[in-house]
Symmetry: C2
Subunit: 546 residues, 2 copies
C-alpha cells in the first residue's frame, strides 16, 4: 500500500503531467543519448516559427503582437510547447496552464481585433511564476508534500497586475524543498537541471524559472529572493534577474512557511531575457500603484534615469574576503572593468575599489534571522507527512552553526545588531563620496564564487544574501561563458580558509563546460532604478544595446 | 540610609534643578494660591518682551530673527525663562540646556551678523525634546530609575538635523514611566500637569512637551508616538501634534526599552504651536534626505499640495463604536462638520460617513504586539532597582487581558493577523471611491473619548493607537474649549458597555473647565503631506489662516 507521502506526491505529479499532456501538438522523440547542453534541441523538435517566436527578445515580441504580426495565441502556443519540451529535458515545470493561457490570449486577440489596441504594456507576453505564487483555482504546495492539497482561489496580487497589463500566465515552475536552497530539488518533483550543462544546477530557489529562461521557454519569470533566489537561477542560466528593495513588488498571495517573519524580508523580482524586460516589469508593476490595495508596500514611484546625468561611480568588489571568486568569475570581473575603463559615450565613469565589510559576520546574522525559530516550523511541516529533509535543507538548518531557537528578547537583540550592521555599511558607502560629494552609485560584484554549481554544492550564499540583509536592490547580467583555456585552475592558489578551499577544490573548467558567467550590480535601498540604469551603461560598455 | 532608588532619583532631580538654577534672571514669587488655570501667570512673572517673543507664532518668530528684529540669544533667553516658570507650575522639565542653547544662539547671531544670512529654515528657533532623545554628553534615563546614570555622547539624529537647520535645543521634558502611558507620571519626576487646568493631565507620553507647548514655553517640541504619544499631549493642551508614517523622521538615538521590536513602529513627530510649524518641520527634516545616513528610513520625498486640486473628500468618524466621544468632543465634531458644509473657497468638499472597522479587535492586536514578551523586559528593568510599577503601567501591562508572552511562532501569527487587518481596512477605505474613483483623502475623528483627562484615568487609547496599528499618519488640531453650558452631561445617555460607562461616569463639564478640545485628521500610509494639506483646508473652513 502506498504511503500517504507517496500518494500526495503522485497526485502532484499527475497534475503536472496531465497539464503537459494537454499541450498540442505533442512533441517528437528526444535524441538518444541526450547531450549535456540541450539548448540546441528546440531547433530539432519545435517548428521554425515556434523557435523564432521564443527566441525573439520579449519587448520586440510585444511589439510584433502590437503591430498585428503575431497573435497572442500563436505566441502562447509556441511558449507552451517549448516549456513542455523544457520539462522533458530539465524537469523544471510544476504545471502548465494551457487552458488559462490560451483563453486569455484569445481574449487579448479579440480585444485587439475589435479595437486595434493592446490592453497594456505586456499585451500577449507569456509569463510564468515560481510554484509558491498563488494561482486561482490551483493547488499551491510551496514545495511541501504536506501542502500538496492546498487549493487557492485567488491569484497572487502580482499575477493579477501582470494579467491586467496584458501578460499571459502559462506556466508554473519548480523550486527547492523549503524554498531555501539556491538549487532546485524537492521530494515531490526531483531535481531541476541546467540547459547549458545538465550536470549543473539551474540554481534556486527560483530554479524552474531559471531553467525555463535559459532554455528560452519563458518570456518573463516571476520569482522570489530572500538570499539570492532570483539572482542565482538567472545567473546560472546566463540571463537577467533582480531582487528589488523589499515591499516594492506586491507580495500578497505568496504561500510560504514563514509568514509573519519580518527580520529579513523576501522580495518578488523578475527573471528576464533582457535588461529592458526587467525594467519594463519593475516600471509598469510599480506604475499601477499597488500600495493602494496592498498596504504593506512602499509608495515609491519608479524614476526614469535617476543617475546624476553624465557621471557614474562604480565600486568594484573583487572578493568578499571569505570565498574568492573562481577563475571564470574573476575573468568576468576583469572583462567588465576593462570595458568600463575604455569608457561609454556620454558618461564619465569612475571605478573605485569596494571592500567587503565583514561579510562573514553578515552571514552569521542573516542565517540567525532566517530561522529565529531554529527552523522548527519547517521541520515540523516536513515531519508531519514523513518528508525527509534533503541534504541542502540539512545544510542550511541543522548543520548551520548559527541557526538556533530565539526568544522574543534575543530576536530583538538580533534586530538591533542587524540595524547596527546596516548603519555601518551605509557609513562605509557614504565615505566614498567624502571628497567629491558623489558617493558610489552602484557596486559591481560576483553573484557567487562560481558559475552554475554541481548538484548539491551550493553552500555559500553570501555574494547574494549580503544584499538581502541590507535590503539593497541587486540584479544580475550575463558577461561570458566558461572558457576551457582562459579559466584554468591556478595551480598555486592558496585557499584563504576551509570554505574557500571547498569551492576551489570543486572547480575545474571541464566540469563547468558551457556554463554562463554572470555578475551583479547593487545599489542602496530604494535605488532599484539606479541598478537598472547603471546596468544599461555597463552593458553599453560591453558593446550591447541593453 | 537612602536606598539606591532614592539616590538615583535624587541625582536626576539635582541635574534638573541645577540646570534651572542657571536660568537668569531668576523668577519672582508665584501667586498663592495658584489658580487651576496658570496660563495667565507668565504675564505677571515674565517681562513684556519675553511674553511677546514666546507668544509669537514660531514661523513669524523665525521671520523676525531673519529680519534682524530679534536675536537668537534674546529668543533663547525668553524661552528658557518661560520654561523655567513652566517647570515650577507644571513639573514638565527634566532639564534645561541654557549653556548649549545660549552658546548655539550666539553662534547663529554671529553668523547672521557676519553674513547677513540665516543658517537654515529654523534659524534661531528654540526647540525641545522628550527625555528619551539622546542629547550629547547628557544622561538619558528614558523614565527608568535604573537608567538614570546612562550617559550618551551623541545627539539623536533628528536633533543633529534640526540644529543643522538652525534650531536651538534648549529643554528636555518629562514622559511617563515605561514611556507607555498617555499621561505623564514617573517615580523620578512625579506628575506633569496641564496649564489650562492643573487637575488635568497634560497627556502623554510626550506630556512634558505638551505642557510646555500649552504654556507657550517651547516653540517646537519633538516627541514620539507609538499609540498616541505625540497627539494626546498636543490635544490635551490645545495645540498641534503629529504621528507621521513610521520611519520618515530619523529615529537613531532614541533610548527605549524595546529596541528591536518591530511589529508596531514608533515614530518621531512634531508638537507645535501651529499647523504651519508642523509642516515646516516635516518638510525640512525630510528635505535633508536623512535616509542617506540612516538606512532604516523611507526615501520618500515631501510633496507640496498632494491633494487633487479643488477636491477634498473627508470621511467623518463620529464614534469608534466602543467608547463614544463625550459632549465637548461631539460638539467639536459638529462645529467642524458644519463649517465644512458651508464650504471653503477653491475647494469642493465632500463629507461621507466613515464607520469604525472593528476597533476593539484592533486594540486587542495592538496591545499584544506592544508586548510580545509579556512586558518582561520593562518589568525586569523596573524591578532591578526596586522601582514600583505605577497604576497606568499596571493597567497597560498586567491588567491588560491581551498582553502575554509570545514565542516566535505566535509572534509570526500576530504579524499575519495585523497584516490581514491592515488589508481589510485598506479595502474599506478604497470602497469609498468605488463610484467616483476618488476615495476619501482623510478621516476626521476624535483624538480620545474626552479632553485632557483627570490624572490616572487615560485608559482608552484606541482613537489614536488605531492609526499606529495601521501605520497611518495622523495629526491633531484645536477646535474649541469645554463650554459649561453647551457641554452638559446628557442625562439619559445609555452607555454601550463598561468602558463607555467608565468615561461617561467620569465626565462633567465642571471637572474639565477650560480644557481645550482637539480633533484628529488621518490619511493613509505615506500621506503625511495629505494630512497637513487637508488640515489647512479644514482650518480655513474654521476661519483660520493656518
Amino acid at each position: 500500500m502506498a504511503s500517504m507521502l507517496d500518494t500526495l506526491v503522485a497526485k502532484a505529479i499527475k497534475i503536472r503531467d496531465d497539464s503537459i499532456a494537454k499541450v498540442e501538438p505533442s512533441l517528437g522523440k528526444l535524441p538518444d543519448p541526450l547531450p549535456l547542453n540541450v539548448t540546441g534541441i528546440p531547433a530539432e523538435l519545435l517548428t521554425k516559427e515556434e523557435c523564432e517566436i521564443t527566441q525573439t527578445e520579449p519587448l520586440d515580441l510585444i511589439g510584433k503582437i502590437a503591430l498585428g504580426e503575431l497573435t497572442a495565441v500563436e505566441v502562447a502556443k509556441a511558449y507552451l510547447r517549448r516549456a513542455a519540451l523544457a520539462q522533458k529535458l530539465l524537469n523544471c515545470v510544476t504545471e502548465l496552464l494551457p487552458e488559462r493561457a490560451l483563453g486569455r490570449a484569445a481574449e487579448l486577440d479579440e480585444y485587439y481585433r475589435k479595437t486595434g489596441k493592446t490592453i497594456g504594456p505586456f499585451h500577449g507576453l507569456p509569463i510564468s511564476s515560481k510554484e509558491h505564487f498563488s494561482v486561482k483555482n490551483r493547488y499551491v504546495n510551496a514545495s511541501f508534500v504536506a501542502w500538496t492539497e492546498k487549493f487557492v482561489t485567488e491569484d497572487a496580487h502580482v499575477i493579477e497586475i501582470m494579467e491586467s497589463l496584458g501578460g499571459v500566465l502559462f506556466a508554473r515552475s519548480t523550486q527547492p524543498q523549503t524554498i531555501m536552497h539556491v538549487e532546485t530539488e524537492t521530494v515531490i518533483y526531483g531535481t531541476t537541471t541546467n540547459p547549458y550543462n545538465r550536470n549543473l544546477s539551474s540554481g534556486g530557489s527560483t530554479g524552474g524559472e531559471g531553467a525555463l529562461l535559459g532554455f528560452n521557454a519563458t518570456a518573463l519569470g516571476m520569482g522570489t529572493d530572500i538570499g539570492g533566489s532570483a539572482r542565482w537561477p538567472a545567473a546560472s542560466n546566463g540571463r537577467y534577474g533582480m531582487r528589488p528593495t523589499a515591499n516594492r513588488i506586491p507580495m500578497r498571495g505568496l504561500i510560504g512557511p514563514a509568514a509573519g517573519a519580518e527580520s529579513i524580508s523576501g522580495a518578488i523580482g523578475p527573471l528576464a531575457q533582457s535588461r529592458r524586460t526587467m525594467e519594463h516589469f519593475m516600471k509598469h508593476v510599480i506604475g499601477t500603484k499597488p500600495w493602494i490595495t496592498e498596504p504593506g508596500l512602499l509608495a515609491v514611484p519608479w524614476r526614469e534615469a535617476p543617475l546624476t546625468p553624465g557621471k557614474l561611480k562604480i565600486g568594484v568588489l573583487m572578493t568578499d574576503d571569505v570565498v574568492n571568486p573562481l577563475p571564470p568569475v574573476k575573468r568576468a570581473l576583469n572583462i567588465v572593468v576593462e570595458a568600463l575603463k575604455k569608457g561609454v559615450p556620454g558618461w564619465e565613469i569612475e571605478l573605485v575599489p569596494f571592500k567587503a565589510q565583514k561579510h562573514d559576520y553578515a552571514w552569521e546574522l542573516t542565517s540567525q534571522l532566517y530561522y529565529p525559530d531554529g527552523g522548527e516550523k519547517v521541520l515540523n511541516l516536513l515531519a508531519s507527512v514523513g518528508e525527509e529533509p534533503l541534504p541542502l535543507t540539512k545544510w542550511i538548518l541543522s548543520e548551520n552553526p548559527y541557526v538556533k531557537k530565539q526568544d522574543i528578547h534575543s530576536l530583538w537583540e538580533l534586530n538591533v545588531k542587524r540595524d547596527a550592521y546596516r548603519t555601518m555599511y551605509s557609513d562605509y558607502w557614504n565615505e566614498s563620496g567624502k571628497e567629491d560629494g558623489h558617493p558610489i552609485d552602484v557596486v559591481l560584484c560576483p553573484v557567487a564564487p562560481g558559475v552554475a554549481c554541481l548538484h548539491g554544492t551550493a553552500k555559500y550564499w553570501s555574494y547574494t544574501s549580503q544584499w538581502n540583509l541590507l535590503d539593497y536592490p541587486a540584479a544580475t547580467f550575463p558577461v561570458t561563458v566558461v572558457d576551457q583555456d582562459l579559466d584554468k585552475v591556478e595551480p598555486d592558489y592558496e585557499p584563504m580558509n576551509e570554505q574557500d578551499r571547498f569551492f576551489y577544490d570543486l572547480y575545474s573548467p571541464e566540469k563547468f563546460t558551457d556554463a554562463p558567467v554572470n555578475l551583479q550590480v547593487v545599489a542602496r535601498r530604494f535605488n532599484d532604478d539606479v541598478v537598472l540604469q547603471a546596468m544599461k551603461i555597463i552593458e553599453n560598455a560591453l558593446g550591447r544595446e541593453s
